[in-house]
C-alpha cells in the first residue's frame, strides 16, 4: 500500500470487518423472505458506499459458513475498482465449494448453526494485525450480518471473542436478519458498545445498513442510533437448566444452583451448614440468664 500522509487520516477513517452468514440451510429457509441473491446485492451496494465515504476506509469481508470461515474480500489489496464485486463473488463461490467439501452430514434439520465464533476470531486477528501496523491506522469495527440461530456449542468461544473485542475496544454491530433474536449478538453489541438491530422490513435492508451501520465511530459520539429495548441476559441454573431469577451461587466458581446443595458440582467445594439453628439457641440462652 502506498504510504499515506498523516494529514489525510481524519477521525472518521474506519476499517469495517463484515461477517456474512453463508449458512446454506439458513438461506434455504429464507428463500421467500429474502433470497440470498438480493441480500448480496444490498450488501455489495453497502460496501461500495462505505468505500466511498472516505478515501482511506477499508473493508474486509469474512464468510461464515457451516463448517468453516474464510476471508473473501479485502479492500486494501490492490485491485481495479470495477472488479471489486466480481472478485468478491468469485471468492465467495470458491468458499462455498470448499465449505461443501468439508460437510460431513448428509442432511440437516432446520436452519443449522453458522460458525459465528470462527468469524469473530478471524476478524479480531485481522484487527490485531492492523493495530500493530503503526500509529496511523483506521478505527476498526465489526459488523455481523447473521440470521442463523445461535449454536450452543459456541457459547464459550463467542463469549471469549466478545470479551477480547471489549478489551481491544472494538465494537461489534449486529444486524439480525433471521426470524428470531440472537442472544449472542445482543450480548456482543451490549458488552462492546455496538448497535444491535433486527430490521422489520427486510426489503429495505440497504437503507438500514446505510442509516445505522455506516456511521463511523467518531460520529457515533453525536449521533443517536436505535437501541434495543432490553438485552437477554437470563441465567440458567446448572442442575436443571431452568431459567431462574434468584438462586444460590458457589463462592468459588460462581456456578448457579436453584436449590441449596451440599457440594458444588463444578468445582467440588463443600458448602457450610446453613445458619438456621442460631435463633433458637440464643433464645434459650437468654431465658436462662437472670
Amino acid at each position: 500500500m502506498t504510504p499515506v500522509s498523516s494529514k489525510l487520516h481524519t477521525d472518521d477513517v474506519s476499517l469495517l470487518m463484515v461477517s456474512i452468514d453463508t449458512n446454506p440451510f439458513f438461506w434455504n429457509s429464507m428463500k421467500s423472505a429474502l433470497p440470498f441473491s438480493r441480500f448480496l446485492s444490498h450488501v455489495l451496494a453497502f460496501l461500495n458506499s462505505i468505500l466511498l465515504l472516505n478515501q482511506l476506509n477499508q473493508v474486509v469481508v469474512i464468510a461464515t459458513g457451516y463448517n468453516s470461515c474464510g476471508y473473501i474480500f479485502d479492500s486494501s489489496t490492490s485491485q481495479i475498482q470495477d472488479q471489486r464485486a466480481e472478485n468478491l463473488l468469485q471468492k465467495l463461490e470458491e468458499f462455498v465449494e470448499k465449505d461443501e467439501a468439508q460437510c460431513r452430514e448428509d442432511s440437516v434439520d432446520g436452519p443449522g448453526f453458522s460458525l459465528l465464533s470462527g468469524s469473530l476470531s478471524m476478524a479480531l486477528c485481522y484487527i490485531q494485525r492492523v493495530f500493530r501496523s503503526g500509529p496511523l491506522h483506521p478505527q476498526p469495527r465489526i459488523l455481523c450480518l447473521h440470521g442463523s440461530p445461535d449454536g450452543p456449542g459456541q457459547y464459550v468461544a463467542v463469549m471469549n471473542s466478545i470479551f477480547s473485542a471489549q478489551r481491544s475496544m472494538v465494537p461489534i454491530d449486529s444486524c439480525v436478519i433471521g426470524a428470531q433474536h440472537s442472544a449472542f449478538l445482543q450480548q456482543a453489541s451490549y458488552i462492546t458498545g455496538g448497535v444491535y438491530l433486527k430490521p422489520q422490513l427486510l426489503d429495505g435492508l440497504f437503507q438500514y445498513l446505510l442509516t445505522v451501520f455506516a456511521t463511523d465511530l467518531y460520529s457515533r459520539g453525536f449521533l443517536q442510533l436505535p437501541r434495543p429495548a432490553g438485552v437477554d441476559f437470563r441465567a440458567s441454573c446448572f442442575c436443571h437448566k431452568n431459567t431462574i431469577d434468584m438462586g444460590y451461587i458457589c463462592s468459588v466458581c460462581l456456578s448457579i444452583f436453584c436449590k441449596h446443595q451440599k457440594k458444588c458440582t463444578t468445582c467440588g467445594s463443600v458448602f457450610g451448614e446453613a445458619q438456621v439453628q442460631d435463633s433458637s439457641t440464643t433464645a434459650e440462652r437468654k431465658r436462662k440468664a437472670p
Partner: protein, 563 residues
C-alpha cells in the same frame, strides 16, 4: 361554644396589634386583649384556656405575617415575660422557619389562611423542625489560643508600674499549663491570701522571669515563700513528663542521624539564652528553659480544652485538677498496658532468620477436567436458546446438504450474472424504513433512565414543575391530617374532615389543568407522575364515603344523631 378562629381578612381595620392575656391557672377568666395602636381595645372572653391559647397563637402568627416585610418581631408585643415567654419564643421560631423556607410558607399560606387547617394543627406535626431551628448554638468548641505570651505586661514608660491584664481565658490557660500554679491557687486562696494578692504575686514572678535576672529571682524567692512557688521548677510537670515517657512504645522506629543529634550541643541547639553555667547551683532551680515552656504549651494546646466553661477561677482550677486526677487513676488501674507493651516488643524484635519454619495450612489443589464445565454450559445455552425462540418455530424439515449448497451456489452465480439492480430497492420502502427508524430513536422511552441526573420533572417547564411539586406537598399534608382524624370521635374532627375533603376535591381539576397545559409528548409522563397523587386522593375519598355510610346507618339508632 365559639370556634377559636378569627379571620383577619380585612386589612383596613387591624394593622398593628398587641395582645395581652391572663395567665393560665389563675382563677380569672380566660381573656385575650387585643389592642390596636390607635388605642382601641378588644377584649375576648373564652370558656377555656385551651381555646384562648389557640386563638392567641393564631393571632400571633397573623400579626407576624402582616409584619413580615422586614420588621423585627420583637418590637410589637408587650407580652408579660414570665409564663408566656416560651410561647413567644415559639412564635418567633415559627415565623423564622416560615421566612426561611418558602415552600413551607406557601403551604402554610394556602392551608391556614385558606381556612382548611388551623395553625396549631399545622405546627403540631412539625415539632421536630421547630426544635432544630431553635438549637442554633454553635456546636463547635473553641480551642485554646496558641499565644504564649499573653500575659505581656504593659509597662508605663514614666512611672514604675507594670500592669498585667488577666482575663478568665488567660487564667484557664495558666492553670492548664502550669499545674504547680493551679495547686498553689487551690491551697492558698482563700486561706492564706485573696485572689488579687495571688495574682499580684504571680505577676511579680512572671515579671522577674521576663527580666531573666536569675539572681534577683533567687533573692526574692528567699524572702517570700509563696513567691518561691512560682519561681521554682514545676515538680508536677516533671512527674507528668516522666509518666508520659514511660508510656512511649519502645518499638517505634525513628531513624536519627548525626544531623539530628542535638543533645550534645549546648542548649540543645537553641540559639539565644547566652547565659553560661557561670552561676552556681543554688540558682539552678530558678532558671527556666524556653524549650520546656514551649513544649508544655504546645502539648496543652494540642490536648485541647478539658474544661468547657469558664466560670469562677476556683471552679476552673478544681475542674482541671479533677480531670488530671482522673487521668492518673485511669493509668494506674491499667495494668494490661505493660503486658501489652512487652508482647509487642517481643513481636517486633523478632529476627526472621532465626524463626522456625511455620507450616501454613494448605488446601490440596483439585483440578477437574474443564470439559465437564463447558459441556454443562452447552446444555445450558441450548436450553436457554430453546426458550428464547419466538412463535415461529424453525422448520423442522430436513434439507439435504447437497441441495442446500447447490441452491446457494446457484444464487451466487445468478447475481454474478445479473449484477446489481438499479435502484437497489424501491424508494417507498426506503422511506418507510427511515421513518420507522427515526420514530424509534426519538421516542422518549429511550431517553429516560439513561442519565441518572435527568428526570422527567426537569424537562418540564419550570412553572409546571413547581406547580406539580406544590400540589404534591399540599396533598400529602392534607392527607396526613385527614387520616390522623380517623376514627371520628368529636365534632371538631368531623368538621375538620369535611373541610379537608372539600379542599381535596378541589385539587382534581387543578391537576387536570396541568396535564392539559403540557406538550403532547410529555402528557403521558405527567399523567404517570400525577397518577399516584390521584390514587391516594381516591383512597381517602373512598374511606370517607364508607365511613359516612356506616355512620348514617348507625345514626338511625340514636335519636339525637351525631352530626
Amino acid at each position: 361554644m365559639a370556634e377559636p378562629s378569627i379571620h383577619i381578612e380585612n386589612e383596613g381595620i387591624i394593622i398593628h396589634l398587641c395582645h395581652k392575656f391572663t395567665k393560665e391557672g389563675s382563677s380569672k377568666q380566660a381573656l385575650l386583649n387585643l389592642t390596636q395602636d390607635q388605642g382601641e381595645n378588644y377584649i375576648f372572653e373564652f370558656d377555656s384556656f385551651s381555646d384562648r391559647d389557640a386563638c392567641r397563637e393564631y393571632v400571633a402568627t397573623a400579626i407576624a405575617h402582616h409584619s413580615e416585610a422586614g420588621r423585627l418581631v420583637n418590637e410589637k408585643s408587650n407580652v408579660p415575660v414570665s409564663n408566656e415567654q416560651l410561647s413567644r419564643a415559639e412564635t418567633e421560631r415559627r415565623i423564622k422557619l416560615l421566612q426561611e423556607n418558602s415552600e413551607l410558607q406557601a403551604l402554610h399560606k394556602q392551608l391556614v389562611f385558606g381556612g382548611i387547617l388551623t395553625d396549631d394543627e399545622f405546627w403540631a406535626t412539625r415539632k421536630k423542625l421547630l426544635d432544630h431551628s431553635d438549637s442554633r448554638k454553635p456546636k463547635q468548641r473553641l480551642a485554646l489560643k496558641n499565644e504564649m505570651w499573653s500575659v505581656k505586661p504593659l509597662s508605663d514608660g514614666q512611672s514604675n508600674r507594670v500592669t498585667f491584664n488577666l482575663t478568665p481565658e488567660i487564667i484557664h490557660q495558666i492553670f492548664a499549663e502550669k499545674p504547680a500554679v493551679r495547686q498553689a491557687y487551690l491551697n492558698f486562696v482563700p486561706n492564706k491570701m485573696t485572689e488579687k494578692e495571688f495574682w499580684t504575686k504571680y505577676s511579680r514572678a512572671e515579671y522577674l522571669h521576663s527580666t531573666k535576672n536569675v539572681v534577683a529571682a533567687a533573692a526574692e524567692a528567699a524572702e517570700d515563700e509563696e513567691l518561691a512557688v512560682f519561681l521554682k521548677q514545676d515538680d508536677m510537670l516533671a512527674n507528668e513528663a516522666r509518666r508520659k515517657i514511660r508510656q512511649v512504645d519502645p518499638t517505634v522506629d525513628m531513624k536519627a542521624d548525626e544531623g539530628d543529634d542535638y543533645t550534645h550541643l549546648p542548649d540543645h541547639g537553641l540559639l539565644g539564652d547566652e547565659t553560661k553555667d557561670v552561676l552556681e547551683s543554688q540558682y539552678k532551680p530558678y532558671r527556666r528553659s524556653f524549650a520546656q515552656d514551649l513544649n508544655q504549651h504546645a502539648s496543652v494546646v494540642l490536648q485541647g480544652r478539658l474544661v468547657d466553661e469558664l466560670g469562677d477561677t476556683r471552679s476552673v482550677a478544681e475542674a482541671l485538677a479533677r480531670t488530671k486526677q482522673a487521668e492518673l487513676s485511669d493509668e494506674i488501674s491499667n495494668r494490661n498496658l505493660e503486658k501489652e507493651l512487652s508482647d509487642k516488643i517481643c513481636r517486633m524484635a523478632e529476627i526472621e532468620d532465626l524463626q522456625g519454619p511455620r507450616d501454613t495450612a494448605v488446601a490440596p489443589l483439585s483440578i477437574k477436567d474443564p470439559r465437564d464445565y463447558f459441556d454443562s454450559q452447552h446444555a445450558n445455552a441450548l436450553k436457554a436458546l430453546g426458550d428464547a425462540g419466538t412463535g415461529t418455530k424453525p422448520l423442522k424439515s430436513s434439507v439435504s446438504s447437497s441441495k442446500a449448497y447447490g441452491s446457494l451456489r446457484d444464487l451466487v452465480s445468478e447475481i454474478r450474472g445479473t449484477g446489481l439492480s438499479d435502484p437497489i430497492m424501491s424508494h417507498d420502502v426506503a422511506l418507510k424504513v427511515l421513518s420507522g427508524l427515526t420514530q424509534n430513536i426519538s421516542s422518549t422511552r429511550f431517553h429516560l433512565g439513561i442519565n441518572p441526573n435527568e428526570s422527567v420533572l426537569n424537562r418540564l417547564p419550570k412553572v409546571t414543575k413547581e406547580e406539580l411539586l406544590h400540589h404534591w406537598t399540599s396533598i400529602q399534608e392534607l392527607l396526613k391530617h385527614f387520616w390522623s382524624s380517623y376514627p371520628i370521635t368529636t365534632k371538631y374532627l368531623y368538621t375538620k374532615v369535611t373541610r379537608l375533603k372539600d379542599a381535596m376535591s378541589q385539587v382534581y381539576p387543578k391537576l387536570q389543568e396541568i396535564k392539559e397545559s403540557v406538550q403532547s409528548d410529555f402528557r403521558h409522563q405527567v399523567s404517570l407522575l400525577v397518577h399516584p397523587m390521584l390514587q391516594a386522593l381516591d383512597a381517602a375519598f373512598a374511606h370517607y364515603e364508607a365511613d359516612a355510610q356506616r355512620r348514617s346507618s348507625k345514626s338511625g339508632e340514636r335519636p339525637n344523631g351525631f352530626t
